[in-house]
Symmetry: C2
Subunit: 337 residues, 2 copies
């Protein structure tokens, strides 16, 4: 006994509509192409028959045309559990839809492999949007060979015709350190994400430089994984250690939230009296009344609108030189510092 694998039923084609309506296939195509010369009555008839048969022009076949685009844009997103990527993905998808593009989404959990990206490049994408920094730069080479525009967000990539939108991480770290010092904190710790990500590297370097300019040294530098649970574990390790700490700068909000909770519940600390905590990103949860996390805003609306602008310009002028836009962060003062 074998499973009878039924042949895939196919969708109605323009040819079938033409036959049913008693017109040529060309006429059917014209009926769906605004501005094409076609008798009004005939057009009405064709649309009616199409409606009845359930015909819709196949967008893929249309995109095969020399003039046509696929209108597909791939988005490689970071881990959706971190909330920041989740929120920015939603805004980005909405914006793309406004441009008539459809997002093919990759990633969203742990690491996205380069192989996965290479697979999706088999499609004639209008563009590839790379969010986050966990992917090798060789992707740029492949995109270039395939003439697929590449837009990178969350890191800077030096390559021809590659556009970048990135937060000024050094400045963000400056702001955080300055605020902590202003509040009288001197024994400052840094809690980072995955060390190989440029966002972590830049925020850490910014932290160290800002401290140095103030004549201070880092109390401790710890690394985690940008997650709530990671932040919870890391602050536990830090507070169980020897050195004393009175200020904590976290490389993203999710870790800051975990750290906040552990410091209060596991160690009974008062925030911000005993310990100041500052996050990075300003996700929606940070402004919940029960949370009120002080943080560095990594503006999502600005980021998305810059990505969309660069995409639009790139589609118009495929050969123009690459552009790098820095988003200026802003300190959001709430209750934890």
């Amino acid at each position: 006994m074998t499973t009878s694998k039924v042949s895939k039923p196919r969708r109605v084609t323009a040819k079938q509509v033409a036959k049913a309506a008693g017109v040529s296939r060309s006429a059917v195509s014209r009926a769906f192409t605004p501005g094409s010369p076609l008798d009004e009555d005939k057009k009405k008839k064709i649309l009616q028959v199409s409606e009845q048969l359930g015909y819709r022009p196949n967008a893929l076949a249309a995109g095969l045309q020399s003039t046509g685009r696929s209108n597909l844009v791939a988005i490689v997103t970071g881990d959706l559990v971190n909330h920041y990527d989740s929120e920015i993905l939603a805004k980005l998808m909405q914006g793309l839809h406004g441009m008539g593009k459809w997002p093919v989404v990759l990633g969203g959990s742990s690491e996205t492999t380069e192989a996965e990206i290479l697979e999706v490049l088999a499609y004639p994408l209008d563009a590839l949007i790379l969010r986050g920094g966990s992917v090798d730069e060789s992707v740029a080479i492949h995109c270039a060979k395939l003439n697929i525009p590449l837009i990178v967000s969350g890191r800077v990539m030096q390559a021809d015709r590659v556009d970048c939108v990135c937060c000024d991480n050094a400045r963000g770290a400056d702001l955080a350190v300055a605020q902590l010092i202003n509040h009288g904190k001197t024994r400052l710790a840094y809690l980072g994400g995955q060390e190989h990500l440029s966002s972590d590297q830049e925020r850490m370097a910014g932290f160290e430089n800002a401290l140095a300019r103030a004549g201070l040294k880092p109390a401790i530098i710890e690394h985690s994984d940008y997650s709530y649970e990671g932040g919870y574990r890391s602050i536990t390790r830090i507070l169980n250690g020897n050195g004393s700490v009175d200020g904590l700068f976290c490389a993203n909000d999710a870790m800051a939230l975990g750290a906040l909770t552990a410091a209060r519940q596991e160690f009974g600390l008062n925030i911000p009296t005993d310990l100041s905590v500052v996050g990075f990103d300003d996700i929606a949860i940070a402004q919940w009344p029960s949370i009120q996390l002080s943080t560095v805003r990594n503006d999502m609306d600005q980021t998305v609108s810059e990505i969309l602008r660069l995409l639009s310009e790139r589609l118009d002028q495929p050969a123009k030189p690459g552009e790098t836009v820095f988003i200026t962060p802003e300190f959001v003062s709430r209750g934890t510092h």
Copy 2:
């Protein structure tokens, strides 16, 4: 001065590779089709030239074949701000990738219009996955006409060959009410989401039935929008009102979190002594140590794996009758009831 609209650069084709490698175009196609008869040396040569020119077979053109599929699967997701949809989307995308499918994602913010879905149906999708209940049932008719398999999750849809995966909402409400009553609460309120969603209707009906069986009447029934802020505002209205309430059943976790915060901060209530709060879904935040929300688990792993199973079976047997799977919810006892 006009913007010079450069002609879109095209990607390398099999024809160009064939010319460069001195072979026929057929040979190039065979080089990328495992199992095709082709001289080993020639294959190596072709792959080398392809690598050099940056050639990759165009997946869309391949999908045009009578035998081929596009490997694109559209996902219509609910509002990503509610966290539940965000988490399930991540799992779903990962699962689809495991099946060799690529997700084209729609929605993610406020309401997804039917028009938007009709637009994406222009693509020859392998399937359409509809999450959440804010879309008209006529979508099923369009999918049927286009021979695009439809899988619905989060609601039940009665239509030929449509598969559904849905939580047993009545049972979930039963569990919540039983727990609240067990803890001595008798003046129970229901806080729902958008009233036109079947998830809200079923959870509310379940709430009312369970109360009736216990010989109780609802203290109050309030509706909001499934968001944190909405929950915050609604509980404020409820507690400012006349009737007294000692137990609150929320139709999702996001609203429960908002309600929890407002009850504590705005009204100084002790949870669960003064007021019990029970959510629905069991999102990741619900188990944060600082939250510990009692809730009804709407199991995401089960839901996703059922969706994937139904999809897989549907692709094998396009004409088999539609199947509806109910996910059995489970009460998760934490600190808020």
